[in-house]
Symmetry: C3
Subunit: 142 residues, 3 copies
């Protein structure tokens, strides 16, 4: 078998950018069985995103949240989709901008990330709740 | 055989964000032969995008178009690439921001989308014409 | 063997958008051995991006750099991550917006790109240096 697929859950988080590499890998012991391949992480939501970025200084995550609130502000006068609250339409815009999935090479049973790369859950709602991630691993087994 | 590849055509659409899940799936009966895998959708253009977002309320698509026109406006004074019309350079910017492909997990012969997720064709040109999508399915057959 | 993986290096480039299709393909003779599949290109950095866009008129690349400097300007008053220079935090924002990977269909031993599509290295730092790309090819062999 060269495929593995599962659905993980990430705990509810406040609006903002969160480093979740450990929270994901803790739930994915099957990764080490793949010698070479691709790990695909897919969020089943339209108001939160997955991304890769700096895994060290937390001020990067602060600044990303601050600046994405400039790129996609609340209460724009032309917004018609307002029934679910002022944070909802900006959340859809951010989700389209950042994207719902990341694909990472697998090498020798590990994600082959750069030194400074980590996986982000980008939570765009004020109260987004738990988030579901479909993980699909494909590759050559050890 | 665990691979399938084809080129689909999406009918010409006006500038804006369009839900095309049905138009794609109608042309992709082979999907149901895959038990588990990844479906890769790739648009062969530089002024239109593929994305995933809300499949219900059409005002989301209206607001996305309105706001992306703020993020990437026409006629910026520093634009040099203007020969193909004022909608062309914003189209390239939006295409880079949103991206040319989406990858979706396949589970039991279906796209494993979240409840509210659908596939969008984001048409950034005023008159973009028909658009070509290369679809690549890879997975375990039933 | 239906998998191939390698790490390529792209030479140091000035800040801006650069067409690198040839620089990548020159280092990837293995591509022609795959009849049908997916080529995954992944940059192991958090301040540079990979994207696909217009491969002809260089003014497109000029205008992209000009406009992304409007979307993610330097020296925003709320930036806290400033120790690595004014170009650093905008680089992280652009990297999240554009993304760290592209996936391209392989057909008959070639990237199945549209007529006008090429691969871009988007260098967001003033002096980013050489950049590492992990390439993973997966498909049916000839």
């Amino acid at each position: 078998m060269t495929w593995f697929q599962t659905t993980l859950h990430l705990s509810a988080k406040p609006r903002g950018f969160h480093l979740v590499t450990s929270e994901i890998l803790r739930q994915l012991p099957q990764l080490r069985e793949f010698n070479l391949g691709i790990a695909h992480f897919f969020i089943q939501h339209t108001s939160a995103s997955l991304a890769l970025n700096e895994n060290a200084d937390p001020t990067v995550r602060h600044d990303l949240e601050a600046h994405f609130n400039q790129i996609a502000p609340e209460n724009m006068p032309y917004f018609k989709h307002t029934l679910e609250g002022p944070d909802d339409m900006p959340a859809h815009i951010k989700a389209i901008l950042i994207g719902e999935s990341v694909s990472v090479p697998i090498t020798h049973g590990k994600l082959n990330l750069g030194t400074w790369q980590g996986i982000y859950l980008c939570e765009h709602r004020d109260y987004g709740g738990e988030r579901r991630i479909v993980v699909t691993l494909n590759g050559e087994r050890n």
